[in-house]
């Protein structure tokens, strides 16, 4: 897992992202779009402002519950690494464009920047986007919608982190047995469109 020591500025932006408090820097939205500065940070692709937004989105998608959330799992750093080292440039650039769009959409729908919204409204906003994305037609060969790409990165980044693995009691392929006979009934009302 990538461990890092945030600068004071990053730490402040993090506090904002998680707690949904008032922004200290009024130019934050502009900073997300221009994506200029990551100086003083160990970020590889995202600017500090973009990283803060990604962190806020991730924490809303997989929040702290009785187990730690995306922030504690370093999902934002994972996403930064994937954008820098894994995706082709075209797809990483498309992610940034999507990030900018989500901010604009939030301003239109909610009248505020995402990171200034209280938690309940952040969740409601993303639930709407999630439902819209699910209703979109999947066209083979066309790139996935931004929100789908973001959610996949958050899921992978969380559940393949030490924190995320611990949250589901997964240690690794070390030895175990699937049940052979009829075990406990599954949880009712499982989410997950593909396979229930």
């Amino acid at each position: 897992m990538i461990k890092y020591h945030p600068s004071r500025r990053e730490a402040l932006l993090y506090a904002v992202a998680v707690l949904g408090g008032v922004l200290i820097s009024p130019g934050l939205a502009a900073a997300v779009e221009s994506g200029v500065s990551r100086s003083g940070s160990s970020l590889k692709f995202l600017s500090i402002a973009q990283n803060a937004l990604v962190g806020g989105l991730a924490e809303t998608i997989l929040p702290e519950t009785d187990t730690p959330g995306a922030t504690a799992a370093g999902v934002d750093r994972f996403i930064d690494m994937m954008l820098a080292d894994w995706y082709p440039k075209k797809e990483s650039d498309r992610f940034i464009a999507g990030l900018v769009d989500i901010e604009k959409r939030c301003l239109v729908d909610e009248g505020e920047h995402f990171l200034t919204l209280p938690a309940a409204r952040r969740l409601a906003f993303l639930e709407r986007l999630d439902a819209e994305t699910a209703a979109m037609q999947v066209i083979a060969g066309r790139p996935a919608p931004f929100f789908a790409m973001l959610k996949e990165l958050v899921l992978v980044g969380y559940y393949t982190s030490e924190v995320g693995e611990a949250s589901i009691g997964y240690i690794g392929p070390i030895g175990d047995d699937y049940p052979e006979d009829e075990p406990v009934r599954p949880v009712a009302g499982l989410l997950g469109a593909k396979h229930g």
Binding site: P63, W86, E127, T160, S167, I168, G196
Partner: protein
């Protein structure tokens, strides 16, 4: 004749090379085992064994850029993963060529143990239904052996390997197996449904070279799941876990790694091979090693390539190729067709699992047994698994927030799949030649492939998809999705043929003992020798043929015939 350095040279340390080394050293021969790749030590060098995704730089996604640049072919195969890529070759540095309209997917593992570190462990015997097929159908040539010739050797290798299976339920199943690997609750459900609904179909545990009981110093499987990362407990059969330790124990084995065999040397006066020319992969220096006996176990395509590259004035079309069929009649298995679905009403235990049995289920061939199928000859068997999707089911799905997280505390509904593996008919046109233009890093011409699926394979795949769907339906599986995507030839990792066995030296390269018709001290016992592909996974047959050929070769040596 000059004194040889060794009694025998074995080229390749994979599935068959390990066996040849064991059988020949145990009969007192001093054996030089040549491996073109690096050393991989049992246990110590299984660097990714038991590691969770969080331990990998790309969390199991793999380094996409490196994959696209260096592993475009290897990554087509299911075994390729961030955790296993170090057991597969770099495609960019080791190219080959194909006819443009017939792509070929050549999966290679260049290290000690070869693909015996990666194989899916299913062990099925060929029967006379398979050995007689060419003669019965009037296709290619007859095998020079029948089941009764190989049966003692199946027994022999099976008792050394240790195979776990449900005893006696089908003739393809090894004799005297250890108890089978367990089927899970969803797989058992399918098993019961198929037994009730289809009189001619059987769902049983796949017979696997995975121990369920301790055996010969190797430990029973602890169900961690991904065998192909390396199995330090030795439950999984590989050269490392089983045959090489036995060979080393004799004191007669010399293993040289990083040794590219350039060609086999032949002496026209004595009409014998005398040894091999080796290029040191690290220094580029060459050295001739001599021996009284040469076994080619380099993997089917590499053994063929080696002989093509060893042409002499007598054997202008490739060493031991007076028949002209060397490189021809390549075969693979037809795969890529089946069905999958969900079983939401079967309990899953409500938790995530830190591993699982490496077993799968096996449905033996049920076509063209009693009745003639209207669309195709020969047949296919089927395999599959039921697995829990875990958190990955949320990718592409709906849900955000605490509700999503809570849902993903449960591993999800059983996903079950069934797919087929079918026989491929041997035709002359499916062939390998040496490239006229491209050479490898050591100046040796790379293989050039021409391989196209035939109509029989296409019809078989359609049948696989239909059969899979109806079996899943019988079990009440939901959301059944049929798939039929022919894989690129070679992608099943069962590429064989090119130096087939037969009775007639005019139409075959090898006789009934895997011995070259042309040169008595040259043997080939890897997949190149196969006269037909059957539908069964071939490694068990390769092992049996190897042990039998070694026994014959040494008896011939003692009689002074070689």
């Amino acid at each position: 004749m000059a004194k040889q350095e060794y009694d025998a040279i074995v080229v390749g340390s994979g599935m068959t090379g390990g066996w040849a080394a064991k059988e020949l050293t145990e009969r007192g021969l001093k054996v030089l085992l040549l491996e073109r790749g690096r050393n991989v030590r049992h246990g110590v060098d299984y660097t990714t064994e038991h590691k969770p995704e969080s331990a990998f730089p790309f969390r199991g996604q793999g380094d996409r850029r490196e994959t696209e640049r260096d592993y475009p072919v290897q990554s087509q195969h299911w075994v390729f993963h961030e955790a296993t890529k170090h057991f597969l070759i770099n495609d960019r540095l080791n190219p080959y060529t194909t006819d443009p309209e017939t792509p070929f997917s050549w999966i290679r593992g260049w290290q000690v143990g070869g693909r015996s570190l990666l194989w899916s462990r299913q062990c099925l015997r060929l029967t006379d239904l398979n050995f007689e097929a060419n003669a019965r159908d009037g296709i290619a040539i007859d095998w020079p052996i029948r089941f009764k010739d190989l049966e003692p050797w199946y027994n022999y290798v099976e008792s050394f390997v240790g195979i776990s299976a449900e005893a006696g339920v089908h003739p393809s199943i090894p004799a005297h197996p250890q108890p089978p690997l367990p089927l899970n609750v969803a797989e058992r459900h399918l098993q019961r449904s198929v037994a009730k609904t289809f009189a001619d179909r059987l769902v049983t545990a796949s017979p696997q070279a995975v121990l369920t009981q301790d055996h010969n110093g190797r430990m029973a499987c602890h169900h961690c799941g991904p065998c192909e990362r390396g199995c330090s407990s030795g439950a999984y059969f590989s050269s490392q876990s089983a045959t090489l330790p036995a060979a080393r124990a004799t004191g007669n084995l010399t293993l040289r790694t990083d040794s590219i065999v350039h060609s086999v040397s032949y002496d026209e006066k004595t009409d014998r091979v005398t040894g091999v020319l080796v290029i040191d992969a690290k220094t580029g220096k060459s050295h001739e090693y001599s021996a009284r006996l040469v076994f080619l176990c380099a993997s089917a395509m590499e053994s063929v390539r080696l002989l093509l590259n060893s042409a002499t004035s007598r054997f202008a079309e490739g060493l031991a190729n007076s028949s002209g069929v060397l490189g021809h009649y390549l075969i693979d298995h037809a795969t890529g067709a089946g069905a999958s679905g969900v079983l939401p009403d079967i309990g899953n235990g409500g938790r995530y699992y830190n591993g699982h049995s490496p077993g799968m289920f096996y449905i033996p061939r049920f076509q063209n047994i009693a009745d003639k199928h209207p669309d195709f000859i020969r047949g296919y068997h089927m395999n599959g698994n039921a697995r829990l999707p875990g958190w990955r089911r949320a990718i592409g799905g709906t849900g955000v927030g605490a509700a999503l997280k809570q849902t993903l505390q449960d591993p999800g509904s059983w996903n079950i799949d069934v797919s087929g593996q079918g026989e491929c008919l041997p035709i002359y046109e499916n062939r390998m030649t040496l490239s006229q233009t491209v050479k490898d890093a050591w100046g040796i011409p790379v293989p050039h492939f021409h391989f196209a699926w035939g109509e029989n394979e296409t019809k078989m795949r359609a049948s696989m998809a239909e059969a899979a769907a109806e079996m899943l339906e019988s079990a009440g599986v939901r959301n059944i999705k049929i798939f039929n995507r022919p894989r690129v030839p070679g992608n099943d990792n069962h590429e064989m043929g090119g130096a087939r066995m037969g009775r007639d030296p005019k139409t075959s390269v090898l006789n009934a003992y895997n011995q070259s018709h042309d040169i008595p001290n040259l043997f080939i016992t890897d997949g190149a020798c196969m006269t037909s592909s059957a539908n069964q996974n071939p490694s068990l047959t390769y092992m049996a043929l190897t042990a039998r050929a070694c026994d014959y070769a040494v008896r011939q040596m003692k009689r002074g015939e070689i």
